[in-house]
């Protein structure tokens, strides 16, 4: 380059009057080509790192938690003999619906009972539904929910690329129907198993607080921050803070 990149140049015209020889153009072209290539590689690495971490983390988690899976499957089957998994339609990245897998923690006709319990929603008349001592939760369900074991099958959704390990929790379609345009921004990235509000107070945070934390994550996410959130999720899950 004709001048060092850290050198401040007051006048663009001065620069071009100094660098109008053919060999300068050739040098600039070489430099431009190299810069374009390195930046494109950088972007690919930055965008690919999250997916790589998801595949690695999802695979390891499925293997690591296999004894817990086995014990939970046995417990659910022994309790009421109903289905082990619960597949719920959730809204993913860009508003596309997908089936999220969970261990069943409620009675088999939970969705029908929900309408009768809407008046007791802890989030008031808001977008989301959450209540303490929900009568639909089974005994095994109460335990697996406290330690978030019911969420573990979602590592499968992570492996197939519908979800990420860290990202805003995927909402149900009924919630999204009540969204305003501003809330839709949380659907800009892939949904995840854990996020900022999971480690910051979980179900005690209201919907607006969740959106605020989700957007904070979306605007500042990177691989190191993701690792930090995963590490902070472990004590939040073990102490069952805010989960019921």
């Amino acid at each position: 380059m004709a001048f060092p990149p850290d050198q401040q140049l007051d006048d663009i015209v001065t620069f071009w009057t100094r660098n109008t020889r053919e060999e300068d153009f050739a040098r600039m072209e070489r430099r431009a080509r190299w810069s374009r290539l390195t930046w494109r590689v950088t972007i690919t690495i930055m965008e690919g790192a999250k997916r790589f971490m998801d595949i690695l983390g999802g695979g390891v988690a499925l293997l690591l938690f296999s004894p817990i899976y086995a014990a939970t499957i046995l417990a659910i089957k022994l309790e009421d003999g109903g289905p082990i998994f619960y597949r719920q339609t959730r809204i993913g990245q860009g508003g596309r619906p997908f089936k999220m897998i969970k261990f069943r923690s409620m009675v088999t006709n939970a969705d029908k009972l929900k309408d009768q319990l809407l008046a007791q929603n802890q989030h008031g008349e808001g977008v989301t539904f959450k209540m303490k001592d929900d009568p639909r939760v089974t005994r095994v369900g109460k335990f697996i929910r406290k330690f978030s074991i019911d969420e573990l099958p979602q590592f499968y959704n992570v492996l197939v690329g519908e979800m990420s390990i860290v990202g805003p929790r995927p909402p149900v379609p009924r919630e999204v129907d009540l969204y305003q345009a501003f809330h839709l921004r949380r659907l800009k990235i892939k949904p995840g198993i854990t996020c900022l509000w999971q480690i910051g107070g979980r179900a005690e945070i209201d919907f607006e607080g969740q959106v605020r934390l989700d957007l904070q994550y979306i605007h500042s996410s990177n691989v190191w921050k993701d690792i930090l959130i995963i590490l902070k999720t472990v004590p939040a899950v073990l102490f069952g803070k805010g989960a019921y």
Binding site: W39, A181, V211, S220
Partner: protein, 401 residues
Amino acid sequence: MDNVSEQQKEARQQQAGELVLWCPDFQAAEKELGLDLPFILWQVGDQPLLAHWLDYALNRGASKVRMFTENRPDLVRAWLEANPLWRLPWDVIPQKAPEESDAQVMDYLPWITDPTRSTASHPFTGETGWELLEHRQVLDEDWLEHILPHNTITEANLAIGRGCRIAPSAKVHMPSWIGEYVRIGPGCEIGPHALIENGCFLQGQSRVTHSRMAAHTYLGTGTELERVWLKGNELFNLKNRARVNLVDQFLARDMQEAPSREVPAKDRLLALWLQARIRPGAPREKLQTFQGQGLTLSEGPTPLHQRARWLKEVVAGRLQLFGVLPRTEQQLRELPEDWQEILRQAEPGFFSYADIQGCHLADDPEEALHAVYQATQPPRAMREILRPALTNLPPKIIPIS
């Protein structure tokens, strides 16, 4: 942002009801500048203009949106199908003649009596491409003034996306918007009113004011953009109404790779298999008309035999296996102008949708109709129809050698 209950939403829906969007035809103006998208899909701020309008409809609590579209409704419909973020029922209603569409739209808008009322108060008519660009510039600047939600700091109208690298000696003036993964080199001066889309690279010592840089654009050292739209190495200067088609590569360049036009490996293998089965030397033999596997072929020598030599092009990766039938420039010019435009952008291939409809020659007027239909459909959906038809061709069509 207020928390909205279901009852509140219902009340708002009753009040707002159906919302109507009228998308006028600016195609002539868009063509003038060689721009390939209808104005409604142009990027304004951080998303297409249509997305802003859907945001508005959602906030108003609309129960349905109707879009009267004069300009390429198929593209608007395809965009809406690919972007299901707004869970609003929508309807794209194609309109042709402006006079007729005015009347139909007015039926839906009984409270507006004068369709030219909005243009009377605003100089924008969209007659030329430059007017469209200038109007977009006005919309961009208006959007920049309101980047942040109303309940946050209003003095700081600046947004910087994630993964950006900005040199310490660079200056950013508000209001400006910088997308994701943008690199701004030393000594750069950005803003006011600068929009730099995702993945841009500014080498250094550049000034960007009242301008927009399209995604993945490289900007070389010692450059100044003022009232400019830089789109790869294509530059639109709004100040002088001048367009530069090929800027030198060290000044500006599109960093995004062209969309992959590679022939999938499984298509190449299928072409190899077909090559072994189709005898190029048998095009003159007569075949009876028959129906089978959704395939209707007319009597006479089958053109698939005549095309057999194209298969080696597919195997070599130079021609798609599934695509519209290739045609000569002369054949293309005989078609209506809008068909020509669609077919020019369509990928040609060995086996087409027209083939399964019984039209095998580019001279056949019905073949062109099927080709246009194929070109406007999602390629994946077309593959799903065409692949089984090609793999299950009856032995009469492909005499086993």
